[in-house]
């Protein structure tokens, strides 16, 4: 493990807003300059973007942003101060008469926690910051660190909601966040740019999507990809109203990849997608956190991972009023049996 390096583990924020009397496009009506200003608070910029009739997706210099009519999802890595976007987003939504009804902040365990700036210096600090920066109306709050048997992989969740009467989720969709470390060296080499390849970030990204098999994870999705110089890769996939997103830090010593997608009880393709995503990277350790998924989905994810040679190491559950049930599973590959 390197002494220091790029922090691949992301911080993820999901903000849900009230939808009574909202215009059909809601938050999508926000002008781009305003969004850019918020991103500036978080020290990231838009690198690529793609939309369909359901939502807007942006590939950022440090991960991704998704804007639905009543929901914002922003995920950033490195040393970005993601939580500083909370108040600006809430204020922007207010200009459209939208009020926040729930917030969920999640992340794994940082590889280089000492390199994180305030308020990300510790989970305690993050919780204090969140408690001080969200409106009183979000009165049902819970912070939890879900452990695994691996000290390097815990799942941190902060969830806040406006009350029991609010409909937080549709009971149909759920989110899956996969974090992979210790990537197979041969596979991660594919995420390095070739010097003098004559390509730009867009076309190099497209090539990486094809060559690595990422394009096959969900063949239905329209993909927006980007390859960073000298290495690194990001993509957003849009498929109807569901997004998927992949981010790769391929450097040896702190290699990391994440895969996140939305599942639906009407479509049982998610366990298969998780399996395909993990195969792209051949990681030594994988964690899978699902939010709002039923037991059957979690079991199928578990079994799918075992089929590709990953050994299940832990399975933990926690419940949150606003977020629902969070299941956190960890796996290690055969080559990592001693850990």
């Amino acid at each position: 493990m390197a002494v220091s390096g790029f922090e691949g583990f992301e911080k993820r924020l999901e903000l849900q807003f009230s939808c009574d009397q909202v215009s059909s496009i809601g938050l999508r009506e926000l002008d781009f300059k305003s969004l850019e200003q918020v991103l500036h608070h978080v020290q990231c910029t838009v690198v690529s973007a793609l939309a369909n009739q359901h939502f807007d997706s942006y590939v950022l210099s440090e991960s991704s942003l998704f804007v639905y009519p009543t929901k914002i999802i922003i995920k950033t890595c490195g040393t970005t101060q993601l939580l500083k976007s909370v108040q600006p987003f809430i204020r922007l939504a207010q200009t459209l008469h939208l009020h926040i009804v729930s917030l969920r902040y999640t992340r794994g365990s940082f590889i280089f926690p000492e390199s994180q700036p305030h308020p990300h210096t510790s989970f305690n600090d993050e919780v204090v910051f969140l408690n001080n920066n969200i409106p009183q109306t979000l009165c049902y709050r819970k912070a939890s660190v879900i452990p695994s048997k691996l000290s390097s992989h815990s799942w941190h969740v902060f969830s806040a909601g406006a009350g029991a009467g609010v409909e937080y989720s549709d009971d149909v969709t759920y989110t899956v966040e996969v974090c992979m470390t210790d990537l197979d060296k041969t596979l991660s080499r594919k995420f390095f740019r070739h010097p003098n390849d004559g390509k730009n970030g867009d076309s190099a990204g497209k090539q990486m999507t094809e060559v690595t098999g990422i394009g096959c994870i969900n063949p239905n999705a329209k993909i927006c990809d980007f390859a960073f110089d000298p290495c690194g890769y990001s993509m957003n996939g849009i498929d109807g109203d569901r997004y998927s997103t992949i981010h790769v830090t391929p450097e040896d010593g702190f290699s990391y990849a994440s895969f996140e997608c939305v599942g639906s009880i009407y479509d049982d393709d998610v366990p298969e997608m998780v399996k395909k995503a993990v195969k792209v990277f051949g990681p030594g350790t994988v964690s899978v956190a699902t939010t709002g998924a039923g037991d059957d989905v979690c079991m199928r994810i578990f079994k799918g991972m075992e089929k590709i040679g990953m050994k299940g190491r832990s399975w933990s559950i926690d419940e949150f009023l606003a977020a629902g049930t969070v299941v956190f599973q960890t796996f290690t590959s055969r080559r990592n049996r001693i850990q």
């Binding site: 973007a49 793609l50 329209k222």
Partner: protein, 132 residues
């Protein structure tokens, strides 16, 4: 959800003169008739036409709009056409537009290349490639 927005759209850009632009403008096409005329004219000319399929509710489209105008200035020998997928859904369907923005490069009535999503460098490169 997006398709029902048309009735609530804010003001659209005013109709432009029907002739092709030669001062680096982006021509917004609002009617099927106008589009058909433009397309027919394009078939008999050697000029590259870049069609920007976008929508009012598309954030990425708003993000790249200034760049499209810059390209229209830079490549004054290229026709830049903007089509709103809610106004001309049939044209969007003809060109199989599923995500936005979609840029379709057309020459002599045939699609040469397309770019789906905001990819400024690629779009610039494609226009340069098919320009002459």
């Amino acid at each position: 959800m997006g398709a029902q927005v048309s009735s609530q759209q804010r003001s659209r850009s005013r109709s432009r003169p029907r002739s092709g632009s030669d001062h680096g403008e982006v021509l917004s096409v609002h009617s099927s008739d106008n589009w058909n005329t433009l397309f027919q004219n394009s078939r008999s000319s050697n000029k590259l036409m870049v069609i920007d399929f976008s929508a009012d509710w598309c954030g990425p489209c708003k993000f790249i709009e200034p760049t499209v105008h810059d390209f229209a200035d830079e490549f004054s020998d290229v026709d830049f056409i903007k089509i709103d997928v809610d106004e001309l859904p049939d044209v969007a369907k003809d060109f199989d537009v599923k995500a936005m923005p979609t840029f379709v490069l057309v020459k002599k009535g045939k699609e040469r290349e397309r770019i789906v999503g905001v990819k400024k460098d690629d779009l610039h490169r494609m226009i340069e490639k098919h320009r002459f």
